[in-house]
């Protein structure tokens, strides 16, 4: 905010010069214009892809009718529930494996084996086990998000500078206070990287999991739209997924700026 204010002041009343060579927003706009033109002239039929203007109108009507907010809420609740379970599981497993050799011997081989199986490949098995209700969807998200959290936090705990640990020990820290004051803060940057990955995974798995016989949610909207060849609704849902991805990333960035305020990269800004 302050930066733009300074810029404006220094430039004064004059308009800032347009530097087309640096206008990164230009090519997306051009693409949108070509797309709109193609739709208007009939080159791109609506059943292939709806026009951007149609998508915007559909978006607005879906918001006003409450159809989009209510289904978005259902999808967000699924993602949040799965992520919460994955977070608790990933953090617990990483703490046990990271803080004790015995824990590592017991847990890490299993996690490394599981890592080789793509989480989405478990979908048929989960449908057999949990049916086609909410349970398989949330379980899929939980399983998918456990791994990035576990792997990053475990590596982060093991990568804590042993010289810092030694110094802290020499000043009387041990056991829980050593873990709380030295090891966990040292592993926090790696954990937040894991969290960012996990949020991406949660969204990805959500998209796939919602295709399983959903009665509500973004996936339900997309499935219905597909049946009626409503490409405008499909594009609206894609936009919403993209916005969710951006929002998740932004949330972790904010969290990092707060939790890692001591890092030189954040100190400069």
């Amino acid at each position: 905010m302050s930066l733009t204010a300074i810029d404006r002041n220094s430039i004064g009343a004059r308009w800032p010069k347009l530097h087309l060579s640096q206008a990164r927003w230009l090519s997306p706009l051009v693409l949108l214009a070509i797309w709109e033109l193609g739709s208007r002239t009939g080159v791109v039929p609506t059943r292939i892809l709806a026009a951007p203007s149609t998508v915007l109108i559909t978006l607005w009507s879906m918001i006003v009718s409450g159809e989009l907010p209510s289904n978005l809420l259902v999808s967000l609740a699924r993602a949040a529930a799965g992520l919460a379970i994955g977070l608790v599981a990933g953090v617990s497993l990483a703490l046990v494996a990271g803080l004790s050799r015995r824990g590592e011997t017991a847990i890490d081989p299993l996690m490394q084996i599981k890592r080789t199986i793509p989480s989405l490949a478990l979908t048929p098995l989960f449908i057999v086990w949990f049916g086609i209700g909410e349970a398989p969807k949330i379980t899929l998200i939980a399983v998918g998000t456990t791994f990035p959290i576990y792997l990053n936090l475990f590596a982060g705990i093991r990568a804590v500078d042993p010289r810092l640990v030694e110094a802290a020990r020499s000043f009387g820290l041990k056991g829980p206070s050593l873990i709380a004051q030295v090891i966990l803060p040292g592993a926090l940057p790696a954990f937040l990287t894991g969290l960012r990955y996990a949020m991406g995974v949660a969204l990805l798995v959500l998209v796939v999991a919602e295709q399983i016989n959903a009665q509500a949610g973004l996936g339900y909207l997309i499935n219905n739209a597909r049946d009626f060849m409503r490409t405008d609704i499909i594009v609206v849902c894609l936009l919403v997924y993209a916005t969710l991805g951006l929002a998740a990333d932004q949330a972790v960035r904010l969290l990092e700026a707060r939790a890692l305020a001591w890092r030189p990269t954040f100190l400069k800004s």
């Binding site: 030694e166 110094a167 802290a168 020499s170 009387g172 206070s177 803060p185 305020a261 001591w262 100190l267």
Partner: protein
Amino acid sequence: MAQPIALSSVPAHPETAAAPAAPAVRVRNFTRRFGQVTVLEDLDLDIGRGEFVALLGRSGSGKTTLLRTLAGLDPADGQAVATPASKAIVFQDPRLLPWQRVWKNVAIGLGGPGVRARAEAALGEVQLGHRLDVWPSTLSGGEAQRVALARALVREPGLLLLDEPFAAVDALTRLRMHELVLALWRAHAPAVLLVTHDVDEAITLADRVLVLDHGRIAAEEKIALPRPRDNDAAFQALRHRLLGHLGVEAPAPRAVAGEGSLVAFPSGEIVA
């Protein structure tokens, strides 16, 4: 204008003058092996209460192993190693927790009321009272090492262990750190073991310099020169002897000539 100064065992300092019967550190017949390699062998060491001892030695001479054993970082394996209950180390690198503000780093491991006040006082003593609440990454190398010094002294240790603490700071900062360490030592009077490979630093600071070689104490020099110590003839003579103990051939000082004729010496640092 070199004056003849006795290099005898005359006490250099009031604090060290009256060494009581029980020393701060007492090590007897200490041996430490890593596999086939004997690092320390049959080593005896006494450090009096409030005495400032410098330990010189080449890389691999076992000086860091000895310091770590006294610090309790390496096990003594039931051998005769007696040290004060309160010990504090200043490492070669500051080893501050980057996610804790400066005063919290000083207060690490301390409990009870008034912790912040104690940390503030300690930071004031190292002239960093104005940087209590900053992150360690914003400190210069010399400032960070002063925080490490405050972190050690806030515990009022009976034994202060300095593991080449000035090796990584620039020469000017090092000179100021020497003065600071001496002032703090006078104020708090801990026994000090300074591990260094810098002969000049050892002579400038210590009451007694030990030379460690092949796991044994190969030589000992008591320094009775009054502080602050100038690089005068007596200093040079001592330096020459210590370099000799360390196996470095240096030209003999011709400093006895009255007109303060200083001889250029090679650098006092031993490069291993």
